[in-house]
Amino acid sequence: MNNFKDIYNTYYKLVYRLAFKFLGNHDNAVDITQDVFLHLYSQLKLKREIYNTKAWLYKVTSNLCMSFLNKTKRITKHEYENPAVDEVDNEKNIEVVEALKKMNKRDRVLLTLYSEDISYKEMVEITGIKFTSIGKTLSRALKKLKHEMER
């Protein structure tokens, strides 16, 4: 499983960051990241083929985060503390994560992935949204988000 170790070290921080963007909480992001790689580990152990590792990891991370959020429903503000973010930045981060939470699941996942500079092609792979809908959905979702933040 040398392959696994390489993937783990290469993608750990990216998976963590994506999870943090969804959850706004360091401990939960670490937990989800561990779960994502546990999932990968078992897939590789079963010799299941994964074609695009990065897209696969982002997909599993998004799914696990969204189901975690469905379970915990609301997260109180103080949970957004992150050791790697200063206080002013943390406030801004809270604002955007709070606004994202008010959006529908599709927009929320898409915008979070978008912030990771993922190509449209990869977004299709991760979310299953049609390529021809991505541009329109993003454009609308960004405007909606701005509206939510101004309220």
């Binding site: 170790k5 070290n9 401990d27 561990q34 379970k71 912030s115 960004l142």
Partner: protein, 160 residues
Amino acid sequence: MKWKGNNSKCMSDEMIQMYIDNEIDEFEKAGMEKHFAECENCNLRLYEQKKLIFDFKQSISLVNIESIEIPEFKHEKTPVIARKKYRLFYWKWAAAAAILIASSLFIYKKHNTNIQDDVRYIIFDMSSEVDANKPLHEQSMSIYIIDKSGKQIENNINNL
């Protein structure tokens, strides 16, 4: 691709988004650039959308992952016992949950006699969200059952 606007050549929001994301082909791109140079309105919309994207990406990307340590990979679920914090505030809910769990576990035991040997801790995690105005069955709650070695064997029995 559709071209919408007061002027037949004016760009749709979708086109502007795709242009910024560099997701359109070179031929279309050239046509769009020509239009941006001529049309003040579309040029302004381009600028505004760019700003919207910049602000969004900046405010959400505040995590400096360089300072995040990569932990050693563990092949099992992390024991949750060490990290869970208890708040005195929730003791009433915890007590209510304890009775519920004790009774449900009793039923579970009846069906599976091995469970007694495996279970070491049962943890009620009420820390996610408690709204005192709601009845207990609407509270979000996680239950963790930990075996002797500290591994999590059962979790997240939600909304009992």
